[in-house]
Amino acid sequence: MAEKNLESKFERHIKDVTFKILRYSGEGDSTKFEEFKVPVIGGMTVLEGLIYIKENLDSTLSWRASCRMGICGSCGMFINNFPMLACQTQIMDLKSDVIEIKPMPNYPIIKDLVPNLDKLIEKHKSIKPYTLRKEGTPEEIEGEFCQSVEELERYEEFTFCIKCGICLAACPTVATAEEFLGPQALTQAYRYSVDTRDQGYEERKEVVDNPLGVFRCHFAGSCSEACPKGVDPALAIQLLKKTIVKDSVFGKKLENNAKVLPITQENPKKKENIKPAPPKSVE
């Protein structure tokens, strides 16, 4: 009976794929690979394969996932020796009949595929990932900050970070220097510092301009290759180096003075003569 249900569930069954998963009980330090046969249907992701295993083959398998749509940053794994989001990786795209899944390297393993991301979050917090103000906090200022499209684009792509930690798993520097701030935190340090509303560059510089900070980066570029959100941490880190060199060597400080407009003021660039919308064609 159960067999039959399964078959109907997988009627668009393309092929069977072997999931070779590194298991770790959470105690001691012995790990072993375990294999599971997973029937693949079109569009099936690695995460769905893991869910299939948990529901049908071995309920003790552990991993971390939540949104299953590449936005929560929970499901980073080492899939066929590349750090990727399990929910954003389609099995057929891997073009392989064996899928080897290990927990993300450079993080302690808690159990099976669950990494301990405490360090990542600590490093992220250490660079003060929020708007720092000298001249009045956003709450104190009665008005709104003005920012041009160009000013937005200076940092916009870096805001897409979902803190999945894949970049640190890819980073060859983190591999030997655990305390290196790493691509994620350094990128956020740059992201906030060049935001015209922010005035915290000095404070963040103290955190990132040290032997375990921005200049530890060798621009191997792997973080940018692996990042599933197109954040390009390597770019942010090089620009952060440039910003700090400009300041420390040439004395050109990064200063932000976003214009503040009173909330009631009309948009100064509001266009006149815009034709009214055409009349409704249906009620």
Binding site: Y155, T176, A226
Partner: protein
Amino acid sequence: MIKNLLGIKGWAFAGKFSLQRYAYILQRITGLGIILYLLMHLYVTGFKIKGQEAWNSIMQTVHHPILHFFEFLLFICVIYHALNGFRLILAEFGIGIGKPGRQVYPYTTSVDRQKGFFFFLMFLVLIIVLVGAADFYLLPK
């Protein structure tokens, strides 16, 4: 809990990552190679203070075909290290890696944008090494 830090393996193996990651490994290895040469070079030239005879005898030893080949390897290392180092210096000043912008899938990154320049430099390395090879082995001394 298992630590799972990749350690030396993390930087010595580039796996599925792109050529620039391999370039990073080579930069380190060639850098260390050049330091090794520097030490040997100091040792060998140090024979000068021991007088003409000691100097002549060490020069005899050094003029060995295998050491000559090692010198050629060193030459390749220096050329590669200098040109790739030049690329890294430019990149660290934000040159040739593009500007941040709106990301649209499929994403392009600073690593992709720098690939052309990287290939150009590697082509230069090849040319210089070929010219050097001619000088080392083909041209009459």
